[in-house]
Symmetry: C2
Subunit: 375 residues, 2 copies
C-alpha cells in the first residue's frame, strides 16, 4: 500500500448516524458534510470567500468538464485546481464517468473504457480508469474518484451484475495507475443497481480492498426515494467503520438527513446552487419560489431563522424583484442562502450526534423535511 | 425656495479641474466621483458590500425600469430605494427620459410629455415632468433628475434649439411639482445639442434658476469625442462654481479624465460594469479582453497595480477560463476590478487637485488613456 493521505476518525454515533473527522492533504472535514458543486472550477457565481463564510469545508469539481476545458495540463500549469480556483480547502473530483455516460449516443463503451465525442468541441476522446486517475492527479485534488460504469435506470439484474463486475475490474486498474497516492486519495464506488444483494456483495468486495474511502454511486437516477435510501443503507452497512462514506449526487435536505441516519457521511448535489439560481430557497417554513407575486411588497426576511446575507440584509420583496427582473444578484443571494442552510443543517446534525442528543437529531430530521417541502 | 438638501463645497482647482464635496441626505460624495449604474436597483451581480469596498460612494438607478417593474409604489412599500437595495449611501436616479425616447416608434411626444408603450409589459404610460418628479420622490432618492427632451443625433440647429426650450419649460414644471424638496434634490440638465451657442445660452439660463445641481445631457450619443468634450466644457463653464456638475453617461477612463479637466465633477456610465460582464478589463497596461487565448496558462495577475479581489486572489489564466466557460464569477470579478479602477482613478485625481500637484494630474490623465487603449 502506498502512503495514505486520507483518514477518517469516527467520533460518535447515534444508531447508524455517524459524526467524524475526514483528514485530507488540504485540511480536515467535520462530517457529516456537504460539498457544493463547482463544475468548471467555480461554484456558480459564488466566490471562494463566500464559500468559506457559508460554512463550506470541501468542494467538488467535475473531471469531465475540466478535462474538456481548460484541460488537465492547463490546470496543472495554473498551479493545480486549488491555486487556480482560489480554494485552499479539500477538493474532490468525480471521475468523469457520470458525464461521459450521459452523452449516450456519443459514446462507445468497451472493457478498455469509454470512447466519446464531446459536444463542447467535437473532439473524440477516450476515458479509461487509468486516464481518469491521471487527470485527477494532474488537478492535484485531495480525492479522486475511481472511474465506474454508470448504467441506465431501470436495468435488469443481469445487466446490473455485469456492470458492477466491470466497475470492480476498473477499480483495480485505477489503483494500479496511481502515481501520487501520497497527495491524492482514491475512493472506490459501490454499484449494484437497485438490487440489495448485488449492493451488499459489491460493498463487501471493495471494502476488503482497504481503500482510502468509499462512495455509493448509481443512485438518484430516477428511482423511488425509498429505493434510494434502502440502497444507500445496505451499501453503507458493509463499509468499514474507519472510512468515510460518500453518497454521490444526493439531494434535498430531507434526503440528506435520511441518508445520514442510514450511515452516510459525505454528500454533494447541484440542488442548493441550481435551485438558488432559479429563484428557489430552502427555508425553515418550506421551499419558497421567489417568483411568487405574494412576496412583491413583503418587507420581511427570506428566513428569520437564518443569518446569511440574503436573510439579514434584504427583504423578500427585493429578492422577488431581483428574480423577476433576472438580476444575477438574486440567484447569487439565494444560492448563498441555500448553501448556508445545507451546511448549518449538517453542522447541527454533527453536533447532535457528538452530544448524543437523540431528540435533537429527530428535530433536525423534521426541520430538513420542512425545509424541503414546497411553501 | 424650498429647504435645500444638497450642497457642493468647492475645495480646490487646477485650471478648470475641481475637487469638492457634494453633501446629500444620505452622505457626502468626494468629487470628482463616478456612479456605477444599478439599472433595476442592482449594479449587475455586485453586492452592496462589494460596491462599498470597491470605493463606490453614490449609485445611479433608472427611473424608467423601476417604474415599469416593480413600480414606484412597490419601491415605496419596500421602504424606498435605499432600504430596498441595501445601499445606505447617496442614490441618484435619471428621469426616465433617455429610456423613453430610446423606444422611438413606441412613443408619442407632445408638450405634455411622452406617451409610450413599454415593451416589457405592453402597457401604455405617460411620462411627464411632474410624473418623473413624483416617481423619483417616491423612490426617496437623494437626487432626482428633471425630465428633459432627448433628441436624435445628428439634429439640426433649429430642432436642437426648439428642444432645448422645451427642456427648460419642462424643468420649470418639474420644479413646481416637487413635494419633498427637503429629501430629494432636483438637478436640471443642460441641453443644446452640438451647438456651442445653444449650450452656452442654456447653461446660463438654467444656472440663473439656482438649482440644487446641474447635469450636462444629450452627449455621448454618437458624436465625435472632441465634440463631446467641447460641449461638456462650454456647458460647464457657464455653471455656478458652488454647484455640482454631472456629465451624464460618460465614459471610458480617458473620457472621464478629460471631462474632469474641463470642469466636470460627477459621472455615470455602464461601461465598467458592462465591459466586465463581457470579459473586458481596464488595466494599467491597457484594456484586456480576457477571452484572448494568450492568457490561457498565465499565472500572473490581471493587473499587478491593482488591489481588487480579481487581481490579488486569482490568475489571468483562471479569469480566462471563467470567461471562456461563461462562468458568472468571471464577469463578476472583472466588473469589480473595473469599478476599483474607475474609483481609484477619480480618488487619485481628487488628491492631485487638492495637493495642487499639476504633474500628478497630468500623469493620471496619461494613466487613464493607457487604461482605455486596447491591449
Amino acid at each position: 500500500m502506498a502512503t495514505r493521505c486520507c483518514s477518517y476518525d469516527l467520533k460518535a454515533t447515534i444508531g447508524r448516524a455517524r459524526a467524524g473527522v475526514l483528514s485530507l492533504p488540504h485540511g480536515e472535514v467535520q462530517t457529516p458534510a456537504f460539498m457544493p458543486v463547482g463544475t468548471r472550477a467555480s461554484v456558480r457565481n459564488i466566490s471562494s470567500g463566500e464559500l468559506s463564510s457559508s460554512g463550506t469545508q470541501m468542494v467538488l469539481a467535475n473531471t469531465y468538464h475540466l478535462w474538456v476545458r481548460p484541460g488537465h495540463e492547463d490546470v496543472r500549469a495554473l498551479g493545480g485546481l486549488h491555486k487556480m480556483m482560489d480554494w485552499s480547502g479539500p477538493i474532490l473530483t468525480d471521475s468523469g464517468g457520470y458525464q461521459v455516460f450521459s452523452l449516450r449516443k456519443w459514446t462507445k463503451v468497451t472493457e478498455e473504457g469509454v470512447r466519446f465525442r464531446s459536444p463542447e468541441d467535437g473532439q473524440y476522446r477516450l476515458l479509461t480508469p487509468e486516464k481518469a486517475v491521471e487527470i485527477q492527479e494532474a488537478f492535484g485534488v485531495d480525492v479522486a474518484m475511481a472511474f465506474d460504469e454508470c448504467i441506465e435506470w431501470p436495468a435488469s439484474r443481469e445487466r446490473s451484475a455485469a456492470s458492477t463486475e466491470r466497475t470492480t475490474r476498473w477499480l483495480l486498474r485505477a489503483l494500479a495507475a496511481r502515481q501520487h497516492a501520497d497527495a491524492t486519495a482514491l475512493f472506490g464506488i459501490v454499484q449494484g443497481g437497485m438490487y440489495e444483494d448485488l449492493r451488499t456483495a459489491h460493498a463487501k468486495e471493495i471494502a476488503s480492498m482497504d481503500l482510502d474511502g468509499y462512495a455509493i454511486g448509481g443512485l438518484s437516477v430516477g428511482e423511488e426515494r425509498e429505493a434510494l435510501l434502502d440502497m444507500a443503507e445496505c451499501s453503507a452497512a458493509q463499509l468499514p467503520h474507519d472510512s468515510v462514506r460518500y453518497l454521490m449526487g444526493v439531494g434535498h435536505p430531507s434526503d440528506i438527513l435520511d441518508a445520514v441516519l442510514r450511515g452516510v457521511d459525505l454528500f454533494d448535489c447541484v440542488l442548493p446552487t441550481r435551485a438558488g439560481r432559479h429563484g428557489q430557497a430552502y427555508t425553515s417554513v418550506g421551499r419558497k419560489n421567489l417568483r411568487n407575486a405574494r412576496y412583491r411588497t413583503d418587507t420581511g426576511p427570506l428566513d428569520p431563522n437564518c443569518d446569511c446575507p440574503a436573510c439579514t440584509r434584504v427583504s423578500l420583496g427585493y429578492l422577488h424583484h431581483l428574480v423577476r427582473s433576472k438580476e444575477l444578484l438574486g440567484g447569487r443571494l439565494l444560492t448563498l442562502h441555500n448553501l448556508h442552510v445545507y451546511h448549518r443543517l449538517l453542522a447541527n446534525t454533527r453536533q447532535a450526534i457528538i452530544a448524543q442528543d437523540e431528540s435533537a437529531l429527530k428535530g433536525l430530521r423534521e426541520s430538513a423535511v420542512r425545509h424541503t417541502e414546497s411553501h
